[in-house]
Amino acid sequence: MKALYFAWVRERIGLAEEEIAPPREVVTVRELIEWLSARDEGYAAAFANPATIRAALDKTHAGPDAPIGAAREIAFFPPMTGG
């Protein structure tokens, strides 16, 4: 699946997007965050405070307990500050 990162999540990870292939036991958004956090310091820093992380599955907001399912795209970003 494609992972997208925005704003300071993008800056800390150092990537705007990448292909990821989480193992089968990663079921929810929360578990995907934990799996990514274990990769290196950049990911760990990006996801250090899960309360400030928002996610979207196929361009729709998704909470931490949402199952990733067959989504083709997941995005991680800080709380929105548009408008």
């Binding site: 704003a7 361009k59 729709t60 929105m80 500050t81 548009g82 408008g83």
Partner: protein, 155 residues
């Protein structure tokens, strides 16, 4: 009941023109009684801000605004709705966002425009980074708890 209008939603780098958008929404219409517009502008924070960099999530930004617009159309009998949100570099005094809501009666137009703004703030995937006038590298703007509270009042 008149059919629900199709909201006009645009996410763009270019500036927009309130007068032109008003004309597009009202031209040839004789049934609109009230048109409320909200225009959000970039403030210079008493000279501290040189510019905002507005990052967005292409595709989701349009989709999310459209979802909020559809919700507004279900809540209030509107005759027209336009939402424009810019991204990219925006300088103090420049326009960032426009919401236009047309209805027969003013209370519906006011409520829909306020609702749209409260939800755009908390749901539309845009992030502001400040470029500071003193040359220091700026920060990402923090989400405000008052914006969450403003959105919560519609639940």
């Amino acid at each position: 009941m008149a059919p629900q209008p199709t909201p006009a939603v645009r996410v763009q780098a270019e500036d927009f023109d309130l007068g032109r958008e008003q004309a597009l929404l009202t031209r040839g219409r004789r049934d609109i009684g009230a048109l409320v517009s909200f225009l959000g502008l970039c403030r210079d924070e008493d000279g501290a801000l040189e510019a905002l960099e507005l990052e967005h999530y292409p595709g989701m930004a349009e989709a999310e605004i459209r979802r909020v617009a559809d919700e507004a159309l279900e809540r209030w009998p509107l005759q027209g709705l336009t939402v424009i949100h810019r991204f990219g570099r925006i300088q103090p005094g420049e326009q960032i966002v426009l919401v236009l809501a047309a209805a027969r009666h003013r209370a519906d137009a006011f409520a829909a425009a306020a609702f749209l703004m409260d939800f755009l703030k908390t749901r539309a995937p845009f992030w502001k980074k400040e470029r500071r006038a003193d040359g220091a590298s700026g920060d990402w703007v923090s989400a405000k708890s008052e914006d969450e509270a403003a959105a919560d009042r519609w639940r």
